[in-house]
Symmetry: C2
Subunit: 208 residues, 2 copies
């Protein structure tokens, strides 16, 4: 790679530069969208010349892929929090509408939506999305199937799969809503979320 023949000093700097570019690109993608954000604008946001970007990335599409993989890592990290959070509805309602900069743990709604749309067109993005979704869903299923004594909800495997799917739809729907309705009443959102989440986490009703 670039830093193969150089010392560790330049390797650190190269990584920092890469991160600076990714941060600027993410901001530009949020502000203007994937295709409308130009390399010139990204370079200006990162406070460097356009040509320099190509020392650290092969091109624009590689930047997009790098951002996706970065978000995938963030998603994996956030899975751990899931097990510890007791007030899930409150956390979701509280973070609603918060601006997500590049080192935030929450992905920006427009970025997430555009990324999901691109997943229907670009096979690489589709594969990355599937990987991320599978990890999140597995974590949901684990919590739902684990016995109540272990802090889980003791659902059957089939039940848990369905509930996990609905949880993902709900979270993703919140992202859509965040984009379309940024100034929502948080209190109402939180109350409504609590009810639906309670229903999803409840044991299945027996067929009469």
């Amino acid at each position: 790679m670039i830093e193969a023949s150089a010392g560790p000093r330049s390797a650190v700097r190269a990584a920092a530069q890469r991160q600076r570019i990714l941060c600027a690109a993410q901001k530009c993608f949020v502000d203007r969208g994937f295709h409308a954000a130009s390399m010139a604008t990204i370079a200006q946001t990162a406070d460097m010349s356009p040509g320099l970007i190509y020392r650290y990335f092969r091109g624009k599409s590689e930047i997009i892929l790098a951002i996706i993989e970065q978000q995938l890592e963030v998603a994996r990290e956030r899975i751990g929090e899931l097990h510890a959070t007791s007030d899930l509805a409150g956390a979701l309602a509280g973070s609603y509408g918060k601006s997500a900069d590049c080192n935030s743990e929450h992905i920006s709604p427009p970025l997430f939506l555009e990324l999901s749309a691109q997943a229907t067109r670009d096979p690489q993005i589709a594969a990355a999305s599937r990987a991320s979704d599978a990890a999140v869903r597995a974590a949901f299923v684990q919590v739902l199937t684990r016995s109540q004594a272990e802090g889980g909800y003791g659902l059957s495997k089939a039940e848990a799969a369905g509930r996990a799917l609905m949880l993902m739809c709900l979270f993703e729907g919140l992202k859509v809503r965040e984009a379309r309705e940024p100034q929502i009443d948080r209190r109402m959102l939180r109350a409504a979320l609590e009810q639906v989440l309670a229903a999803i986490f409840q044991p299945p009703r027996q067929p009469s």
Copy 2:
């Protein structure tokens, strides 16, 4: 306008041409995204010359706006079906993954997602989205607040507002999921949907 000085004959043709352009543009936007779809490609899809499009639309952004308003009309029409549909979960699970052409009653997931992302950037799109959302939400609230004798669910106004919000999140989340996971197990989706929908439509539990 264009057909102001002409007879009704040309007005009919003009409307048909407009519709042909909108249909082609919608297809191109789904396939490539808003910015990546070129006017040349749209013209080719509509089987006409690029210049001809400008006889019927002022430019590209006006085409986008027209598609949005068209989808808004479709949404309003679909609200009527809501009151009549008994098997909502089955209908949703059944239409999942079906390709949506331009005269379909279902908006294509990538188009919806890209549109929602653009709503965070373009004030006109944001306004149109808000109008559509308000109509849909009002219809949900109406069904939820109407007394059970009238086919409703007899919820209070505050309760209904929250439930309607969750319904919208769920539907929009399904759109996201449709984009990210086109080959889902429909049977599981339907079963899970039925449970969550039942919970959302249920009367509120009394505080013990």
